[in-house]
């Protein structure tokens, strides 16, 4: 509860990339997020961890204003997110779109530029150049003209990441970018995250593979409807905290921390 306290007292002039205060969300009448408050430091890679149905995706969607919240405040660099949309990049879950859509990889990445174009302007040569560069950064430049249904799952995920890069944001939300990807893509993604961090960008990632948390993230946010713990990975990602977050499923967790091959379930 001390967390809530610090946030609300500092709230008036916080310039943190993301400050969430008292966020609550319910589907029908079932609470999915209850009074979640935290503040993310600039240039950090933050992993959002929790069991299925803990509200991890919901947290992202509510922060982005995609679903209505019951109450609470979301500030991006000190202002309501609605005024800061151009600073935010978003990578939805890969399964959330239809990959049979008639379009190619470059075109999907170009969609990342739409937010910078206003109501009527169409993407131009400059946007195309940016999109190609972003595809190149995820090692997909050779596939620019490829129909998206002909890409593998990992390649599709990389196209999604390239699209987020094209958004040229300062704060990124990524919903399970590592879900169901091949080793090459996983490596590409983590390289990219490191590069974003080097550029001073802040990335919040919903993550399932407990075995890699310590290697990938500066901070972790443990969530199970309520915020369980939040802080630097070394201090926060502990047996005790995980037990609190995952409740009765600790037996699996014990093993997972000893055997790095374990990975949690996926999907919300």
């Amino acid at each position: 509860m001390s967390l809530t306290h610090t946030v609300s007292s500092r709230n008036a002039k916080t310039t943190a990339p993301l400050a969430i205060n008292g966020l609550s969300v319910a589907y029908q009448k079932k609470p999915v997020l209850r009074n979640v408050s935290f503040e993310v430091k600039e240039g950090e890679l933050v992993g959002v961890i929790g069991p299925n149905g803990a509200g991890k995706s919901t947290l992202m969607k509510a922060a982005l204003g995609l679903i209505p919240s019951l109450g609470g405040e979301v500030l991006v660099y000190g202002k309501p997110y609605k005024q800061q949309r151009q600073m935010i990049g978003y990578v939805p879950q890969r399964e959330s779109v239809d990959w049979d859509f008639p379009t190619n990889a470059l075109d999907v990445v170009l969609m990342g530029r739409y937010g910078h174009l206003g109501w009527f302007r169409r993407p131009g040569a400059k946007d195309k150049a940016i999109a190609l560069e972003c595809l190149n950064k995820v090692g997909m430049a050779d596939y620019a003209g490829r129909q998206i249904s002909q890409l593998s799952g990992g390649q599709q995920q990389r196209v999604f990441l390239a699209r987020a890069l094209a958004q040229d944001a300062k704060l990124y939300f990524m919903d399970e970018p590592f879900a169901g990807v091949d080793a090459a893509t996983e490596k590409a993604i983590i390289t990219l995250l490191q590069e974003l961090k080097k550029q001073g960008k802040t990335v919040i990632v919903v993550h399932h593979d407990l075995a890699t948390v310590q290697d990938y993230f500066d901070s972790v946010l443990l969530l199970n409807v309520e915020l369980q713990a939040y802080g630097p990975t070394a201090e926060t990602f502990t047996q005790e905290q995980l037990q609190r977050t995952y409740g009765g499923r600790l037996a699996f967790l014990d093993r997972s921390l000893q055997h790095p091959s374990f990975s949690g379930g996926k999907g919300e």
Binding site: L66, F101, P102, M111
Partner: protein, 290 residues
């Protein structure tokens, strides 16, 4: 001359429907198009009773209201936990039934029969002429459809990137500040307009065929959205020409023949499309096996 006007009317209907159909198919909302085309009926009837004319702007407006109401009701029922397909079925049959009751109640007082609404009468299109100061301006239906097509092309042209992103990834669209709901209702409003402009020619039932079938055919033939829209229009126009030819030869329902032609073109694409056709795929497999 009548042939010319019938074909022009058909081509305009096919173009209006072809463009919108692509977005309905891609958003997996083909059945919502079906629902709207039926539930504009009470709007048409009420507007007709009020104005006594069949081509008033009032009719267009009433249909628009009905179309948006349909969209809104379907969404409301879905959000309160009713199955998506069930809520579509409930809403459009209820509204359509109200229309049928209204027509049967007032059919004697007004010239508006159920057959005309359901099946259209494209063969009589050239009898209903628009005259300005005694000058023959051509059939009213052509003007109405031309206006509708202009509106559709303008709106889709201006907001192409928004419609595209809302169809492919509504979550990202909302995240970057595109008002997804506005574009949803805008699309459904356009579908209502297209339906009410077309119903007089091809009827409320067969207009669905021209909304969905050419767009589905185009989907099988290309991997690019822009090309898909062009192909959808082309397939629709080809269907109206082939259908009219067949109707003249067989002395059968023109609108019926047009939708049959569209279906035949769909089957042809399904079998022989270079990328998706099942016959082509089989042939390719056989070549690989050799």
């Amino acid at each position: 001359m009548s042939d010319f006007w019938i074909l022009l009317t058909g081509a305009l209907v096919a173009s209006c429907c072809g463009v919108l159909g692509v977005f309905l198919v891609l958003r997996k909302m083909a059945m919502i198009g079906d629902a709207i085309s039926h539930s504009v009926m009470p709007g048409i009837v009420v507007a007709f009773l009020l104005s006594g004319s069949r081509d008033s702007l009032l009719m267009m407006f009433a249909a628009l209201i009905c179309g948006l109401l349909t969209t809104f009701l379907i969404q409301m029922f879905q959000q309160s936990g009713i199955q998506a397909d069930a809520s579509i079925g409930v809403v459009f049959t209820a509204l359509f039934a109200i229309g049928v009751v209204l027509v049967s109640l007032y059919a004697r007082q007004v010239h508006l029969d159920q057959d005309a609404i359901l099946y259209g009468e494209i063969a009589y299109v050239h009898w209903n002429i628009w005259e300005v100061g005694g000058i023959n301006m051509g059939p009213k239906a052509v003007w109405l459809l031309g206006f509708t097509l202009l509106v559709i092309l303008t709106v889709i042209g201006l907001f192409y990137k928004q419609f595209k992103l809302c169809a492919f990834d509504p979550a990202l669209a909302a995240a970057i500040g595109i008002p997804v709901a506005v574009f949803h209702y805008l699309l459904m409003g356009l579908v209502s307009m297209a339906t009410v402009s077309s119903f007089e020619s091809v009827g409320a039932i067969l207009v669905v065929g021209l909304l969905i079938i050419p767009a589905s055919t185009a989907y099988l033939l290309t991997d690019q959205l822009g090309v898909m829209i062009g192909l959808s229009i082309a397939v629709g126009i080809a269907s109206t020409f082939l259908g009219y030819g067949a109707a003249v030869l067989l002395d059968a329902s023109i609108a019926g023949c047009m939708v049959c032609a569209a279906s035949l073109l769909f089957v042809a694409a399904f079998l022989f499309s270079p990328s998706h056709g099942i016959v082509i795929k089989k042939l390719r497999l056989r070549q690989l096996a050799r």
